[in-house]
Symmetry: C2
Subunit: 428 residues, 2 copies
Amino acid sequence: MTKPYTSMTMAELAVIRNELNKQYEEFQELELSLNMSRGKPSPEQLDLSRGMLDILGAESDLICADGEDCRNYGVLEGIPEMRQFFADLLGVEAGQVIVGGNSSLNMMFDMMASAMHDGFPGYTPWGKEEEKPQFLCPVPGYDRHFSVTEYFGIEMVLVPMTPEGPHMDIVESMATLHRRIKGIWCIPKYCNPQGITYSDAVVQRLASMKPAAPDFKIFWDNAYCVHELTDTPDTLLNIMEECRKYGHEDRPVQFCSTSKITFAGSGVAAMAGSENTLKNFRRRLSFQTIGPDKVNQLRHLRFLKDMDGVKAHMEKHRQILAPKFAVVMRFLEEELTGTGAASWITPKGGYFVSVDVMEGCAKRVVELCEQAGVTLTHAGATYPYGQDPKDSNIRLAPSFPPVEELEQAMQLFCICVKLAAVERMMDY
Amino acid sequence: MTKPYTSMTMAELAVIRNELNKQYEEFQELELSLNMSRGKPSPEQLDLSRGMLDILGAESDLICADGEDCRNYGVLEGIPEMRQFFADLLGVEAGQVIVGGNSSLNMMFDMMASAMHDGFPGYTPWGKEEEKPQFLCPVPGYDRHFSVTEYFGIEMVLVPMTPEGPHMDIVESMATLHRRIKGIWCIPKYCNPQGITYSDAVVQRLASMKPAAPDFKIFWDNAYCVHELTDTPDTLLNIMEECRKYGHEDRPVQFCSTSKITFAGSGVAAMAGSENTLKNFRRRLSFQTIGPDKVNQLRHLRFLKDMDGVKAHMEKHRQILAPKFAVVMRFLEEELTGTGAASWITPKGGYFVSVDVMEGCAKRVVELCEQAGVTLTHAGATYPYGQDPKDSNIRLAPSFPPVEELEQAMQLFCICVKLAAVERMMDY
């Protein structure tokens, strides 16, 4: 058993620091240039969908289920068969789905814009309320959610994550007490960055709670809904069904996309919600565009076909991704267990591994890695305004680099985590 | 020579009305179901780009000029070669271009949203000014421009069109007098609906004028920049160059797309402006999305190649469209010349023919056509809030129906125009 750094004497720490410094310098001599910062699929993963590129050709039938020519204008909410596809993926009715362009982030941004400008039927637009609206932000979380919130001048109220999802005692008490709190960001399955899936109890409490704001919304970004890494997938309750049980069907707005199923930049995004929830968004959409890229929708349908097709396709992603996550976990476990220098959660899906290094050390770890040629997501990125109050959380993104690069990067990362911790201990 | 209705006696009008009513009833018996309402390309036009569908395939190189994989995330402003493509199309530098998704309308909407929320560097956001901002709207114009303006609560100030473009005496005096007037909508070439191209003098005056609002913008929707119907294309001055001559390079924001070049629903849109003009939009974009569909950009480039490719491709569109416009013009000339019941402009490009029927008759003409099975763009659509103060303008869209349907529809249309005029005359 490794002795934790916190139980060591200064002399013991000094020995370890010298050893780590030597190892670190050896890495610097390698002049690496590796990148573990971004949740991007690797070229091998993108190659899995090469067949989609020419699945439509000169002889293809390009008429969608409602008789419209997919090449032409119109069909504002997406072709019927693609709405059904996403309905199946999200567990809702096709009529509750709006299919968009290539970016679910863009749909979240536009939904927030609509909430601010138009509000929800019967309620004041959020942007016209007397007090600035607020949003609950489980942390660590996804920087892009935070920046959308920031753009619209919505204040962010931090809620800690637990291994079961957001800390629901805090969510409930905050939402119940403050009418300004208009919603919550959720990545309910294999969340970014921790890979946590919300427990049934958490989903039920989100669905049943009674926020002070009657137009409280759950922004349910189901980005990793079919992104498994194991044979024993996490299960997630259907948020729409749970909400309906309590008469709260207007509460959730679901988002998802095929970005990490087919092509990250050229996928298809969708959102879903009750008629009431989407009413003003639909009106806005009719001002904003004449319709989405329906040819790309058709291309996706021909390629993925249905939920079985998606499942089979995601299994191929898993074959590429699982070994990369295994590398990350192996190094964390072999190098850091028992040191007290870091803790982590083993994700069963998604795109990230979240590591909490010793408090006050995250920036230093990222800096050390950078100086030895390995780029990590910048420290603080998982918190609103880029400010991690404990300077502890680091998001690792193992999807893009090849396995051998990942091994080098993880070896260095563990050295840096330990070195930063030892430096920190000796600094007290 | 036909005697104009205005010079006829009641008795003469009664004879004509009876004759027209008989013709109209014969049409009603045909039980037509034709649609001349929408500026959509026909299936034959869309077939011209079928080759684009599988121009990228399993073996294709999918790396763009800056080394990025087009299938993956990123490249927020579009791939370099597509920015160059649109730069060539719009007469600007590639660095001044942002390539978007499938809809230029969406980019106009987002630009307006950015102007309202973020404003332009050094100036108050339009939505935070004390007085409601206003926009100059040349009429008749494009209903979608008006509805974007309306959505953001921007007041619309009507400016009449002349055969050379917007009435510049009015534009200049209004813009010079009122600081609230923040911009003008322009479709400078083959405008919707009249097919007018702005004269050099109009472009120069737009470029050189001194509006009271220092952040005055020209929203330059160059939707029909390469959409010719004749061998003698209209020429349009380069708005960016003209503005630069007067130190007003921050004034124009240009928009265009390939919607009416390749696929109406699956084209590529772009905008262009000075660094200053696009600065806050770029920032907004970085919150809104991770990047556009770059695979579709690459697909377009491989298919259209360059400006020569576009020109050759547009010639094929012309072969399909020009005969349809010829039908419209032939009927107008043969049936309505000299009656005083309507006036029109012969467009040399674009997608529409604008007909001014006798004042107070447009709604009646559209109603009569509808009741005999021919759907036209609803009367008033070419004016803000759908209200044509003279109830006179009707937009004909000949692109979609086949020639034989168009002939029937135009025959009926001319009967209805005359019938409505005669009814009107006899009503006085």
